[in-house]
């Protein structure tokens, strides 16, 4: 069965520092992978997605993610974090038909000034 692991529950970075959020997935075939962000009290917003092709995908708000099949990973990165990036981030894998998504437990990002 498909599954997603986000090893880091909480991460704190300083504003302007680089960021990498880890995501590992378990899937038998070529996965469709997603990163979503959730600001406090809000729903989830899609940051980026990987379907095929170039393994480095660009998303909104300056985020990017790299798909590494050999490591079953899809890590999210940002070169310079802004205070407004403080949120919870969810990695997800396509769970079969009807666009069902399987989500990881999330990583909560705090940004220090």
């Amino acid at each position: 069965a498909q599954s997603v692991t986000q090893p880091d529950i909480h991460i704190t970075v300083s504003e302007g520092a680089s960021l990498e959020l880890r995501c590992n997935y378990s899937y038998g075939a070529t996965p469709y992978l997603f990163w979503y962000v959730q600001s406090p009290g809000q729903g989830l917003q899609l940051l980026l997605k990987y379907f095929s092709g170039d393994t480095l995908v660009q998303g909104i708000k300056g985020f990017e993610a790299e798909f590494k099949r050999s490591q079953s990973s899809f890590n999210l990165r940002k070169p310079s974090v802004h205070w407004s990036d403080a949120a919870e981030y969810f990695c997800a894998v396509h769970g079969g038909g009807y666009n069902k998504l399987i989500f990881g437990a999330g990583t909560r990002l705090a940004v220090h000034p």
Partner: protein
């Protein structure tokens, strides 16, 4: 923003009472979903719908039922609420792409703002 409205946004109820959450969309999307969000678990799929009157169970469906009598509305019912169903519930919508519903389409999910349910 996708036109998704969840109601109520907040509800407090007592154990054993029935509760219905409503999700209304104005996007005419084919697929609709109910997820629950709990700390340490991320989002878990309760039920989903792939068309009017077509629904199926997700990974945490026990104690929940759904109905979809119109494209725009997807109702989640807790038949007899329990404290373990205290959670934040999210509705999401998606559309099939490639013209073939049901296959591993790659459409993204759009989420509502959530409904916080507390069962005392």
């Amino acid at each position: 923003d996708a036109g998704i409205t969840q109601s109520p946004r907040h509800k407090v109820t007592e154990t054993g009472t029935p509760v219905t959450l409503r999700c209304h969309q104005t996007e005419n999307h084919r697929y609709m979903y109910w997820y629950r969000q709990d700390p340490g678990h991320g989002l878990r799929l309760i039920h989903y719908s792939y068309g009017v009157k077509d629904t199926d169970k997700g990974e945490v469906s026990d104690g929940y039922s759904v109905s979809r009598s119109k494209t725009e509305d997807f109702l989640l019912t807790l038949e007899s609420a329990t404290s373990s169903q205290t959670s934040v519930y999210f509705c999401a919508i998606s559309e099939s792409r490639g013209g073939i519903p049901g296959l591993a389409n790659t459409g993204e999910l759009f989420f509502g703002e959530g409904s916080r349910l507390t069962v005392l």
